[in-house]
């Protein structure tokens, strides 16, 4: 059959002649095939595409189990196959068996003829199946690079080794000294431990209060104003890559498309990559079954350990074309003008600013106790703490999503560490260590707050484990770290990244002593600790708790979530959940450091309207 698929689609009324011209022009400009553009930039749904071709007599074959010949595959580059949604598999009957979504793609047919000096035997297949197969068969070098690139270029920054030998020596020496101390002089050693722990707890919290106050001072500051956004000329906007790493998020695909379509950014300048793991058929099927056009390109990440989000993002990076790049989770609802604000802010900032972090908050904050607490926590974290760190020029641990990078700088940094489960926090510190800066933009991405306690603990255990990993990685050589990020940055890093996990580990101990002392009036505690130690420990615990509650209370002001203010009082209970997660994270750090504790999304029953910024 020699019918042209583009003409077929127009004849069937699925694509207008106007769009046809746009697709051809875009295809010529980008080097991608017609089908690739039509299916990934919102022109036609996969179902309609398939319907049109079936009506014309084409048969879509299941191709995942097709035989392939390594020698044939060696002659094709994955990126080319990916751009044309086509893949030559083997030579059979003196013909090259070739999978194609668009059997009329003359450029690819010519490529096969010239490369193999044989005619192609075309098998029409769904684009997602071809994508799956081509990444699985040809993606090995990219996935290896995604895993090992940072380790090869900068092994000292990779979390592939959790504890270095000097760190182990230090930890075991500390344990040994403490044990010896407890054996020889139990009382004195207990007093010293108590004093150190309770002082550390208080200082860490006072530091957080200080940061929150510094951050709150500039709460009205608008890094990018509305007029800045209005002055942006659409035609001059650069290409923007959005990475969407997903795993078993089939329920969220429709919401995702809706949110992406609401973004105020020229469609053709968006390079949206949905990163799906090789074994995630559910999500792939959900994309295939969409009733309406997709606005993203699917990239299938071939199987390789560790199976983490940063590895998927690194893989997606190989296929990204944007000048800037950001990451969203599937359920994220960014402010519609967020990308434009980032472009405007990058234009304003000096060259050394290579990343811009947006605030994160939750759309389902009033769903239950947990979502309310989560909202309070995120509000103070992103509205006060990060601006506080930014103002004091202390390394900013980036949030999980909505961090916008300059692509070239991201690649120079070695991208994300696939062995680190909070790769974003690690990357923020690494950027500072290289002399780069991170800024905060006045734009919010609304996420789904975890509303299930067990799911919450799993998610939080990963975060805390990641903070521990990040701390261990960067503290391998404290002197070097001080040299790189300065003493202020070093202190900030210790109090912010190091102390966060440590305070959660310490908190239940302090609370237990406090409760034993006050409620049960344990005489052992009184005999063990002199009055002044108990006085100080109780003072630190009480003042620490009050200050942390206060910091959380401050958070409601900027967002005007006044109804949440009293929930801040429940923070001591919320921290106990943190502590449970911290111990789980610590256990995993030792037993299974690279394990990605998956967070289930889509549990919220709250409707999430798009946050249109006018």
């Amino acid at each position: 059959m020699s019918i042209s698929i583009p003409e077929l689609l127009v004849n069937d009324g699925f694509i207008t002649p106007g769009d046809q011209g746009k697709i051809h022009a875009f295809a010529a400009r980008s080097g991608s095939s017609y089908a690739k553009i039509a299916l990934n930039f919102g022109y036609i749904s996969r179902k309609n595409y398939e319907r049109s071709l079936i009506n014309a007599g084409f048969v879509f074959a299941p191709v995942r189990e097709e035989a392939f010949d390594i020698e044939v595959l060696k002659k094709i580059e994955l990126k080319f196959a990916n751009d044309h949604v086509a893949l030559p598999l083997r030579i059979e009957n003196n013909k090259v068996v070739t999978l194609m979504t668009d059997p009329s793609n003359q450029l690819f047919i010519d490529f096969v003829r010239f490369t193999y000096d044989l005619e192609p035997e075309i098998i029409v297949a769904r684009d997602l199946d071809i994508t799956w197969l081509s990444h699985k068969l040809l993606g090995e070098k990219y996935v290896k690079s995604s895993v090992y690139e940072l380790l090869r270029r900068d092994p000292s920054s990779s979390a592939s080794i959790t504890f270095t030998t000097p760190q182990l020596v230090f930890i075991f020496a500390l344990i040994a000294v403490t044990t010896i101390g407890l054996v020889l002089r139990f009382k004195d050693t207990s007093i010293i431990i108590n004093v150190i722990i309770s002082m550390f707890f208080l200082v860490a919290i006072i530091f957080k209060l200080f940061l929150a106050l510094v951050g709150s001072r500039f709460e009205l500051h608008q890094a990018v104003t509305k007029s800045d956004v209005r002055n942006i000329v659409d035609d001059e906007l650069p290409q923007y890559t959005i990475l969407l790493p997903v795993y078993k998020e089939d329920k969220l695909i429709k919401k995702l498309i809706w949110n992406l379509q609401s973004l105020d950014y020229p469609r053709e300048q968006l390079d949206v990559k949905l990163l799906i793991e090789e074994d995630d058929d559910k999500t792939l099927q959900a994309v295939q079954n969409l009733d309406f056009p997709a606005v993203f390109e699917v990239i299938v990440v071939p199987f390789h350990m560790p199976k983490t989000k940063p590895k998927a993002c690194n893989y997606g990076l190989h296929f990204s074309k944007g000048k800037y790049l950001t990451i969203y989770d599937a359920e994220d609802i960014p402010d519609t003008d967020q990308l434009k604000k980032v472009v405007a802010l990058f234009a304003k900032l000096p060259e050394r600013y290579i990343c811009i972090q947006s605030a994160l908050n939750y759309f389902n904050r009033n769903e239950n106790f947990l979502t309310r607490m989560f909202t309070l926590e995120y509000s103070y974290w992103f509205d006060y703490m990060l601006p506080g760190l930014d103002t004091l020029d202390i390394p900013i641990p980036l949030g999980g999503t909505s961090n916008h990078f300059k692509m070239d700088a991201l690649i120079e940094l070695g991208a994300w560490d696939p062995f680190n489960v909070t790769e974003d926090a690690d990357l923020g510190v690494r950027a500072y260590a290289k002399g780069y800066k991170v800024a905060i933009v006045n734009s919010t991405t609304y996420e789904e707050a975890n509303n299930d306690p067990l799911n919450w603990i799993r998610q939080r255990s990963r975060w805390i484990k990641g903070y521990m990993q990040t701390y261990l990685v960067h503290m391998r050589n404290p002197a070097t770290l001080i040299r790189k990020i300065g003493f202020k940055g070093f202190l900030g890093f210790n109090f912010f990244v190091g102390a966060t996990s440590a305070t959660f580990l310490v908190y239940p101990l302090l609370l237990a002593i406090f409760i034993s002392y006050l409620v049960f009036d344990l005489s052992t505690i009184r005999t063990l600790f002199p009055d002044w130690v108990l006085f100080m420990a109780i003072f630190n615990l009480m003042v620490g708790n009050i200050l942390m509650i206060y910091v959380n209370m401050m958070a409601v002001f900027k967002r005007r979530y006044f109804e949440l203010i009293l929930f801040a009082i429940a923070n001591p209970v919320y921290w106990l959940m943190h502590s449970a997660a911290a111990y789980m994270g610590l256990y995993q750090l030792i037993t299974n450091p690279f394990y990605w504790e998956k967070t289930n999304h889509g549990l919220s029953k709250v409707n999430n309207p798009t946050n249109v910024v006018k």
């Binding site: 106050l213 709150s216 001072r217 009205l220 009055d531 009480m542 009050i546 206060y550 002001f557």
Partner: protein, 521 residues
């Protein structure tokens, strides 16, 4: 070489600090001490040199912050520490005010006006050179209102949080300021109404509008409540914590404000009132309705301040809040005189209002003339208020300063302490520092004293001959005799229990008798 504005202010501040220090040390050499500074000196000596439960003294001596700030300077000189703290603290207050002023007003006239007040206002000199904690109260009072007014303008959490922290510190400088929160209850509602986005400008109509719309009403209530919480939760929580600490360490929630061992003001204020009102030349105490008028008489500048804020109801109400506060204090503590610091806060408040609004006056020349006249009047009223004060410490300060003659108010305590110092090195003296703290303060070696902070004090009271060689007894003429167990009723009582012990007078002053314990058996 031109010096920058901040360097210029710094130089002025240093000059001011030196000026205050010179006056303070001079007065100290003349023998001027007040009860508050002596109390701090004694507690500091206990902490540095004492034997026993010193951590309790350190944690429960109140007010906490003035004591700690004195404590820092005691590393240099224990007896001059309160004066040094107040002199340097007042100079820092000037710096804070001057910084706030120069960052808003270019015109140097206002800076010089403030400088004149800090150099010559008798009240400020009293705050700076007496060694009392007034300087801390004024500083945090200023910062509290300063941040509150900034919050009105910026509507940022930062300023309301800082205001709240300043309120906490203010309360820990003088607990009575906790009552200030009471008068912010209606004020916060006014602030919330003001911050709602309504077309109506007049406060009363804004209130009407917001109460008649369910969504606005909900918003108003949520916001009002949130501001209450953010402003008052820290002070309230801090006070609760502090009271709990008092409860766990002394068995009394209000130990820090009610025990003469924890704070100096319990007995001094009470006695001061009693003596004045029953003395032969009876003096009329301050009448409640006259307190506000007295404030205006003391600080007419506050009228100018209120005038400057006339266009904004809730801001004017903010300025009026301290009036309600001192009226309330006068009713609540009806057996006490209002200390000078409660008048001085109005002076500071008036300066703060000038910082915010002085430039809004169109005719600056007339305004400056009026200000100059008012300030000059205030220098006079400041003097009058001290000179005619019913509180002995205040009156004696100005008379000593003007008269430049030795002040013998503490002569008796020094005399008795001198005798104790001359006793053999290993002899111990039982005394109750609830009232005898001036003697303890002037004693060179506090370790030879058995005082109530020590666990053995109760045993020593029961069987003094086992622990001590001497007992200091308050005579019947001692005005504080009713507030201590070691008074003229003590010896007859202890004699019936331990008949084998004799007590011999070894040194007598008007208010004190030192007995030597002689064991017969």
């Amino acid at each position: 070489m031109r010096i920058s504005k901040s360097q210029y202010l710094f130089i002025l501040t240093v000059m001011l600090a030196v000026y205050y220090l010179v006056i303070g040390i001079y007065l100290n050499h003349l023998g001027y001490y007040n009860q508050e500074s002596i109390f701090y000196i004694e507690k500091t000596k206990i902490i540095f040199e004492g034997l026993g439960n010193r951590i309790k003294v350190m944690g429960l001596t109140a007010p906490l912050l003035p004591f700690y700030s004195t404590f820092i300077f005691s590393l240099i000189n224990t007896y001059l520490a309160p004066v040094m703290a107040s002199a340097i603290g007042t100079a820092i207050l000037f710096y804070i005010i001057a910084r706030a002023l120069t960052s808003r007003i270019e015109n140097d006239f206002y800076l010089y006006l403030v400088l004149v007040m800090f150099f010559f206002h008798p009240g400020i000199i009293y705050a700076a050179c007496s060694g009392k904690a007034i300087y801390l109260v004024l500083t945090f009072f200023f910062l509290f209102f300063f941040n509150l007014l900034k919050f009105y303008r910026s509507n940022t959490t930062f300023h309301v949080s800082i205001a709240s922290i300043c309120l906490v510190t203010l309360i820990f400088c003088d607990y009575r300021f906790i009552w200030l929160t009471l008068f912010f209850v209606p004020l916060v509602l006014a602030i919330s109404i003001q911050s709602l986005n309504l077309g109506e400008k007049e406060s009363i109509f804004r209130l009407f509008l917001s109460f008649n719309s369910p969504s606005l009403r909900r918003k108003l209530i949520s916001k009002t409540f949130a501001i209450y919480v953010i402003l008052f939760i820290l002070p309230v929580a801090s006070v609760i914590c502090y009271k709990l600490l008092n409860l766990t360490h002394s068995g009394d929630l209000n130990y820090f404000i009610e025990s003469p061992y924890a704070t100096w003001s319990v007995l001094v204020d009470k006695l001061n009132f009693d003596i004045t009102t029953v003395s032969s030349n009876y003096q009329l105490p301050e009448l409640p309705i006259l307190v506000s008028l007295r404030v205006i008489y003391f600080c007419p500048l506050i009228l100018v301040a209120i005038y400057l804020f006339r266009e904004s109801t809730y801001q004017a109400l903010t300025i009026l809040t301290p009036f309600a506060f001192i009226e309330f204090l006068h009713i609540k503590y009806d057996k006490l005189f209002l200390n000078y610091e409660y008048y001085l806060i109005f002076l500071i408040l008036a300066i703060l209002c000038l910082i915010f609004k002085a430039l809004t006056v169109k005719n600056q020349f007339i305004f400056k003339v009026i200000l100059t006249a008012v300030v000059l009047v205030q220098l006079y009223t400041g003097y009058i208020f001290l000179n005619k004060s019913l509180i002995r410490d205040e009156k004696r300060f100005i008379t000593t300063l003007i008269g430049q003659k030795p002040n013998l108010d503490q002569g008796e305590s020094m005399e008795m302490a001198g005798f104790i110092n001359s006793l053999p090195k290993d002899s111990h003296v039982l005394m109750d520092d609830a009232i005898a703290y001036p003697i303890a303060a002037f004693t060179t070696n506090i370790r030879r004293l058995t005082l109530p902070y020590q666990d053995l004090f109760l045993s020593a009271i029961e069987t003094p001959y086992r622990y001590d060689d001497y007992i200091l007894i308050a005579t019947a003429t001692n005005p504080y005799t009713g507030y201590t167990q070691l008074n003229n009723k003590y010896l007859p009582a202890i004699r019936t229990v331990n008949s084998g012990v004799n007590y011999k007078r070894v040194y007598v002053t008007d208010n004190w008798i030192l007995y030597k314990i002689i064991t017969i058996q």
